[in-house]
Amino acid sequence: MNLIEHLPVLQVILPLLSAPFCILMRGHMLAWAIAVVASGAAFAVSLSAASIVADGATLTYAVGGWAAPYGIALEVDAFSALMTMIISGASLLALIAGMASIRQQLPEEKQSLFFAAWLLAMAGLLGISVAADAFNIFVFMEISSLASYVIIAAGPHRKALGAVFKYLAMGTIGATFYLIGVGLIYLMTGTLNLDDIALRVANVSDPHPVLLAAGFITIGLALKAAVFPLHVWMPAAYNYAPHVVSAFIAACATKVSLYVLFRFDFTVFQPNLSGHEFQFGHFMMPLALIGILFGAIVAALAKDLKRLLAWSSVSQIGYIVLGASMTSEAGMTSAIIHMFNHALAKGGGFLIAMGAALYYTTTRFSNLAGLGKEHPWLSGAFVVIGCSLIGVPGTAGFISKWMLVNAALEQGGLGIFIIAVVVFSSLLAVIYVWKVVELFYFEPRPEGASSNAVVVKTPEKLLFMMVVMLVAAANVWFGIFPGEPLALASQAASMLTGGAL
């Protein structure tokens, strides 16, 4: 048996089939171990797949041995390899770092169910990333969504329930919109395989239903991806989820929806519907620009670290969409590399929020003052990650902003306006990051502030700090040597936009 050949399917089934074992295990530590091992295995698979596809190759896999339009195909190319790396990496790191936090926030008897749901969420996201079949994407989208609802609802505060319900309602509307879109495409082309659709959609009897399908798919996925006016479910969901879940979900969940959106739009619709690049760009760009500013402003007004990070995500997703809405190769590269860099920065940010909550029980600003003196390493890591969020040179965030500005310059007069917005929002980012830094370093610890709700065991603390340092270092490393992810991103971008030419 040649393992390399089976990489695409192993990517999904390793975590998927580990989930049932989690609930069969009585001990919660065992369930945690299974989750870590499965995440690690998925990460290893994604790394080896990435090394194969980095030069533009595509791994395809026919599940069940049935060839493409009849059976379900899986495909790993540079874009999906990058996504699988983000997802499994985020899961692995969050799980390792989150042991103490999980113990703090979840009752012991619920933990094995929690880890099973976690694995399912990850497997769902991985399944979307490697799928090459429109309906298969829907199925795995639902696995990941349902599992995400479960792990978010595990949050200890009752507001988590309201947040999850909103997420569930909007997420299901989004998924169903996507399903309608897929149905319309299927009605017009008779196939569900993405490559086959791309071939056949050019010859449909009438473009109207396909345009409607494009609309439904775009809106449905934008709902799931929390693109600006449809983001209302996201801040609350991120805010009230267990801290470890925020770190994982914020790093990858919305990006996977964007991945599907880009993949669909750039490979299926844009090459085959005349003028669709224009429609896509002009529909998405205003939303992206408003989202960037709106998210940053609300973040700057936030009074809670997790809330700040959640709203900053609205803004950062705006950057990704902005890059894509230029429909150029450079723009797309910036969008994809920003997915990676933002996952690093935002995942790291929520990890630090988790650490702060571990020591001080809450993430409210009134309770976090003086963290810098008591926990210098943690707040130091936040400074690095904050710089990456802003886009300070030498951090990963700078790379994507730089690419974005370069791409905008190609756009002529409009580009100047875009750059102005980007610069302004970066200033806003400076404000909100500075607010936290000031709090950490320049304000004294208030009298009687609560702290240390749980006794953090030394090995757990060590693991946690190790991961935080690793993420902070990665933010710097990929700011200075962006080689590998950038190669994957530009490979992916040229593949996506190559079809559009």
Binding site: L17, P20, I23, L24, V63, N136, V150, L212
Partner: protein, 326 residues
């Protein structure tokens, strides 16, 4: 002829849906949604989707009603707020615009039932032609579900599994929840006649469920429908005899094992195919001839589906019932 029947049924569907959304009494809404399920299932059958109709009947009219009622037993059945006028206006505009777009596009769609539409020309004929050759079973839907698109069905099983552990995680373990409640729960014991008849029917429902499970390759049915039927029988038992007795017959531990083992059985068949030199879920390598392999594969995965669905649905029912002290 059948189309004309369907026109009337669809008309009733729309009326029911309107009444469902406009009624202020939640119990009425749930009753109407039961009717909606019956009607839409009849409509599915008129549109030649026998398997889907069976599923909708088992799920919509049976399980879904039970779940809604189980949840409603815990809450006010009356809607108290009308909501903000502005929101109602905005949503009305949103849905109106959506509808206009859809209706506009319908004029450009292939005519209803046209055999020359691309949907009936491209992939589907291949399935109809090849299911008898590749796996030699009469029900083409089962063939596609189990083999050609078996990976989707694996996903479906895991969706159900996720729902099961999700409800358990959100509502908590039924056994633990029951310990806090008074033990006056004896089911429907004071209804003598229904109880006798109900008890008599339970074995028949389970028998029919097994028939649907193992006859799914020849007639409408399969693991999911069978699982829903068997679960419905157990739920009926719980309603008649009380939760405690039902939990004695099938304890939670067994339900956990059912949920996990069904999913693992399905995945295991796929992995076995992988180990025996085929692709994941390629049943052809499982037996001496590809056709026999396919048949074995489909039989096994359908059993996995049935196990998980039965386990999950019973678990979900218990989780709700333990909260509401049904």
């Amino acid at each position: 002829m059948v189309e004309i029947l369907n026109i009337f049924i669809m008309l009733m569907l729309v009326i029911t849906a309107l009444a469902m959304v406009s009624s202020r009494h939640l119990f009425v809404t749930v009753m109407l949604s039961g009717i909606f399920s019956l009607l839409i299932a009849a409509s599915f059958l008129l549109l030649d989707a026998a398997d889907v109709a069976l599923t909708e009947a088992a799920v919509g009219a049976g399980i879904s009603t039970v779940l809604f009622l189980g949840a409603l037993a815990l809450m006010d059945v009356e809607e108290t707020t009308r909501g903000v006028r502005r929101i109602r206006m905005v949503s009305l505009i949103v849905v109106a615009v959506t509808t206009i777009f859809i209706v506009h596009a319908t004029f450009y769609m292939p005519a209803f039932g046209d055999i020359n539409a691309p949907i009936h020309q491209h992939v589907a004929p291949w399935y109809i032609q090849h299911v008898p050759i590749h796996m030699d079973i009469p029900n083409i839907v089962t063939g596609i579900l189990g083999s050609y698109r078996g990976y989707d069905t694996l996903g479906e099983v895991f969706v159900v599994f996720t729902a099961g552990i999700g409800v358990l995680s959100i509502l908590g373990d039924p056994i633990k929840n029951r310990q806090h409640r008074p033990a006056h729960n004896r089911g429907l014991r004071h209804y003598l006649i229904p109880r006798l008849v109900g008890r008599m029917l339970i074995p028949f429902i389970i028998l029919f469920g097994l028939y649907v499970q193992f006859h799914g390759e020849y007639s409408p049915g399969g693991g999911f429908q069978a699982g829903a039927l068997v679960a419905a029988a157990i739920i009926l038992y719980a309603l008649l005899e009380g939760e405690d007795k039902a939990l004695q017959v099938i304890p939670m531990r067994v339900l956990y094992i059912m949920m996990a083992s069904g999913a693992l059985l399905y995945g295991g068949v796929g992995v076995a195919a992988l180990l025996m030199g085929g692709n994941f879920l390629d049943y052809s390598v499982l037996a001496s001839t590809p056709v026999a392999g396919q048949q074995w594969g489909i039989l096994l995965i359908e059993m996995g589906v049935g196990l998980t669905v039965t386990g999950v649905l019973i678990t979900i029912f218990h989780a709700f019932a333990a909260r509401s002290n049904l």
